[in-house]
Subunit: 197 residues, 2 copies
DNA sequence: TTAGATAATGAATAAATATTCATTTGTTGA
DNA sequence: TCAACAAATGAATATTTATTCATTATCTAA
């Protein structure tokens, strides 16, 4: 019974990852249940023993991935006291997670709109991320290493957007270069700007 | 005949904007031809006298909008010699265009994935934008106001991503604040970074 | 070994909606 | 006014694909 249950869980994740591969390849809307089932090596009907419907597959996929990624991020950024190092750890972790799971990266960057439709709390996802950033920036301000006269909201969305932009570019280039190695130059840019002093 | 033709062109743009409104409200996939037709005040079949199919509506909408927006941007950034001022003009223009046409803003930020599917040259769109940036940054380097030791690619995608992020946030906030007023603080951040010196 | 339970199958169904086209309505120039 | 043409209509059709469910296969425990 235990063994059987493990089998079931395995099959669940097989399906989830199969779905991820198909969604990433074709986008959610052009993905069909038949294709996902084929990719997972099961019959169409089997999908419905594990998921309520097509939307639910995407929902569960994202739930699973975000939980995993945010755990990693939390651990990464809590591994230091200095704000700048915390930030570097967070960004490095972010880039690594996306580099290591390109399907997830593509889906996050593709299905943003649809996420709202299925009432997936995208807001809560980015809110959690923005909360990391708030904490880091405020800490830096207390430590005296980060400017005090910042538009907080802007500063946070700015770096999040910039990271997103860099990931989008990497996806467009079909992951042909090392994303993680962008982390430090990216944070340097954020810290120091482009102006020649 | 001339008058009639004007009428036809008017109707074409009426449909295009109706489509924009529906796409922005529901997203491309949940938008139906019937809804677009209703919004435009015509019969379903009429749509097909002006557009090849549903994809073609989105394609033409984006074509029309990007042409318009890039013309504005080109004019805005060419209105100065100094690199930093050029950049400020570009970003201000970008934010203003999106603020003034929220449907366009939403569609650009929602249907990114689908754009690839219909082989719309999204790459060419952002390439054009990135070319503006290249020119501006290189000019600043020549003028001595911008650092020479930058990862060009990163620096460009960084600011594009950051602007995108700020627009996304504005959309999520349902356009409740003035987007254009973010332009200068945004460029300040890009120029000087967040580090306290 | 096997009865009963659980899981998987995939062909059939249902629903949604993009697209067509026979018909109607409107326009123009003589 | 009206013949010839152009434009618009919207009900009917075609297609696509998510979902169901009767049937079959597999597993478990006594």
């Amino acid at each position: 019974m235990q063994k059987n249950n493990i089998k079931k869980i395995d099959k669940y994740y097989t399906m989830l990852n199969a779905a991820g591969a198909v969604f990433a390849r074709l986008g959610f809307h052009k993905s069909t249940i038949s294709l996902i089932a084929a990719e997972a090596g099961v019959a169409d009907g089997t999908i419905y023993l594990y998921f309520k419907n097509k939307d639910d597959i995407l929902y569960q996929f994202l739930n699973y991935k975000t939980t995993t990624v945010f755990d990693k991020m939390r651990r990464a950024s809590s591994g230091a006291d200095d704000a700048e190092i915390k930030l570097r750890n967070l960004i490095r972790c972010h880039l690594k997670a996306f580099q290591d799971d390109k399907n997830m990266a593509v889906i996050f960057h593709s299905e943003v709109r649809y996420l709202r439709d299925i009432e997936f709390q995208i807001k809560d996802i980015s809110k959690m991320y923005l909360d990391f950033l708030t904490e880091i920036i405020e800490r830096g301000q207390v430590q005296g290493t980060i400017k005090r006269n910042l538009f907080m909201g802007l500063a946070k969305h700015f770096i999040l957007g910039a990271v997103d932009g860099v990931i989008t570019t990497w996806i467009a280039a079909e992951g042909k270069y090392d994303l993680v190695s962008m982390a430090d130059p990216l944070v340097d840019l954020y810290m120091n700007g482009i102006k020649n002093n």
